[in-house]
């Protein structure tokens, strides 16, 4: 099957101009492809560059070499070289990313944060809010919190808001960075179920799972990200 997302000779080196221009190579010649309905877990010691790879896949980091191809609107788009408007379109319709930290927008209620990507894709406001509320409820976030901005929420609550926002639109490609890190057992189960459902719906998932038990339950295979030997 054609991959939903794949990399081609992807490499990433950071140049720190403020520290005398030292160069820190993090990724080299990464070749990764994930098919629709497949879940791939990135593995490797911490500091090996798993998060950097995730950010490169999302276009949050630029690439030093190579390409990140995402199937979007019937063709492959190279996230590393597409212009900003096209990357936004890919992120709106195709590519989702659940980071470890919720970027809080002042004054915007939780339910609206979750509903926003749905509305951006054209779903009517009421339907989007209903869908968002249902997903938050499933992640055991009490309805009393839905109308509040999540700035004052606990880490676990914020992460569930983040997860709801990432899972709600049903992106064809979903990137998950430590989705269960600060969750209790019950919520971990919900996330495992959400991932399974997404896979059945044909979503290609790439994840970093600290929790090996969760990882083994959801991942179809591992992709090793090895630290580069010449890292300074």
């Amino acid at each position: 099957m054609m991959p939903a997302i794949r990399t081609e000779n992807l490499g990433k080196t950071f140049t720190l101009h403020l520290q005398g221009g030292i160069r820190i190579p993090v990724l080299r010649s990464v070749e990764l492809g994930v098919a629709p309905g497949e879940c791939v877990a990135l593995s490797g010691p911490s500091g090996a560059g798993k998060s950097t790879l995730m950010r490169c896949l999302y276009g949050n980091y630029g690439a030093g070499t190579g390409h990140v191809w995402v199937r979007h609107a019937g063709r492959e788009v190279d996230i590393t070289s597409a212009d900003a408007r096209e990357v936004r379109a890919v992120r709106r319709d195709t590519l989702g990313y659940v980071s470890q930290f919720l970027r809080v927008i002042p004054r915007v209620p939780t339910v609206q944060i979750v509903a926003e990507p749905l509305m951006a894709r054209g779903l009517a406001r009421d339907a989007a809010l209903a869908h968002a509320a249902a997903l938050l409820a499933r992640l055991n976030l009490p309805a009393a919190l839905h109308g509040l901005p999540p700035a004052t929420f606990s880490g676990g609550e914020q992460q569930r808001v983040n997860l709801a926002r990432g899972f709600a639109p049903g992106y064809p490609v979903l990137l998950l960075d430590e989705p269960t890190a600060s969750l209790d057992a019950a919520n971990r189960e919900v996330v495992v179920a959400l991932i399974a459902e997404a896979k059945r719906a044909g979503t290609a998932i790439i994840g970093i799972f600290h929790d090996t038990e969760v990882r083994d339950r959801v991942a179809d295979r591992l992709f090793e990200v090895a630290p580069l030997q010449d890292a300074a």
């Binding site: 140049t15 720190l16 101009h17 403020l18 950010r55 276009g59 949050n60 980091y61 630029g62 900003a84 408007r85 990357v87 936004r88 927008i105 002042p106 004054r107 915007v108």
Partner: protein, 251 residues
């Protein structure tokens, strides 16, 4: 999709100082573009040149294919009244302080030809509400308003005629931090709701991250880096951008 505004080869010098050095830029409908850089980097000059308020020494600014600096002042003013809006850093520059809040909002409607007092008032009241000003204060003079309220009034006055492209020059500049957050959120919501294209000049990186889809970093009159907002901020390439980003306290 065609660009709403395209600029290329813009040059402008103030004596020995280069305010614009071969600047090019595009903005598309519904796109929010932030221009960041420290004071004196040329960002406000760029905004003024793009808005037709100041001619460049070389280069072109096209709005929907028409040369903004060649079209003549009458046509440019017409644009300023219909298609464009300009939000000044200091609300006093964008408001008439001795005209009531309702009159300030209504002025653009009247300039656009509205001649029904009742309708003008209804629409002004609606807009005051949208920017979270109590419509009961409609007949009050803006000189009695707080800075944040004045700025929200300026935004209502600018957006009431539903422009397609809005220029904002440090819209949160002179405000308290708590007031800034509210204003930013308001701008964010209105921009998304109305599908506005916005060019916003700011030195507030956090504001740029919150509002802008795309970002240009300026230094010494040059655009040293540009691209997706989150990529420019999280993976800055140019030494100056790295300095700029690392100088910001993490929120």
């Amino acid at each position: 999709m065609t660009a709403l505004m395209t600029a290329r080869g813009l040059e402008l010098r103030f004596g020995a100082i280069s305010a614009l050095d071969d600047v090019a830029l595009e903005i598309h409908p519904g796109e929010v573009v932030a221009i960041v850089g420290e004071s004196g980097s040329g960002k406000t000059t760029l905004l003024r040149v793009l808005a037709g308020m100041m001619p460049p020494e070389a280069g072109q600014v096209l709005y929907r294919g028409e040369d903004v600096h060649a079209m003549g002042e009458a046509a440019r003013r017409r644009l300023m009244r219909s298609d464009w809006g300009f939000v000044h850093q200091n609300p006093r520059d964008g408001l008439r302080l001795r005209v009531s809040a309702g009159g300030n909002v209504g002025e653009r409607l009247m300039a656009a030809g509205a001649r029904h007092y009742g309708n003008i008032r209804t629409e002004a009241a609606e807009w005051l509400q949208r920017v979270e000003i109590d419509p009961a204060r409609m007949d009050d003079m803006p000189e009695k308003f707080s800075g944040g309220m004045q700025q929200r009034l300026q935004i209502a006055r600018t957006l009431v005629t539903r422009p397609k492209l809005v220029f904002m020059d440090e819209p949160t500049g002179g405000l308290d931090v708590s007031v800034q957050a509210r204003l930013l959120d308001l701008i964010r919501a209105l921009v998304a709701e109305l599908g506005l294209a916005v060019l916003i000049v700011t030195h507030d990186i956090a504001a740029a991250r919150l509002l802008a889809h795309r970002m240009l970093v300026m230094r010494h009159g040059q655009v040293v880096e540009q691209g997706l907002t989150d990529r420019v901020l999280d993976d800055p390439q140019h030494p100056y951008t790295q300095l700029l980003v690392s100088s910001v306290l993490a929120a």
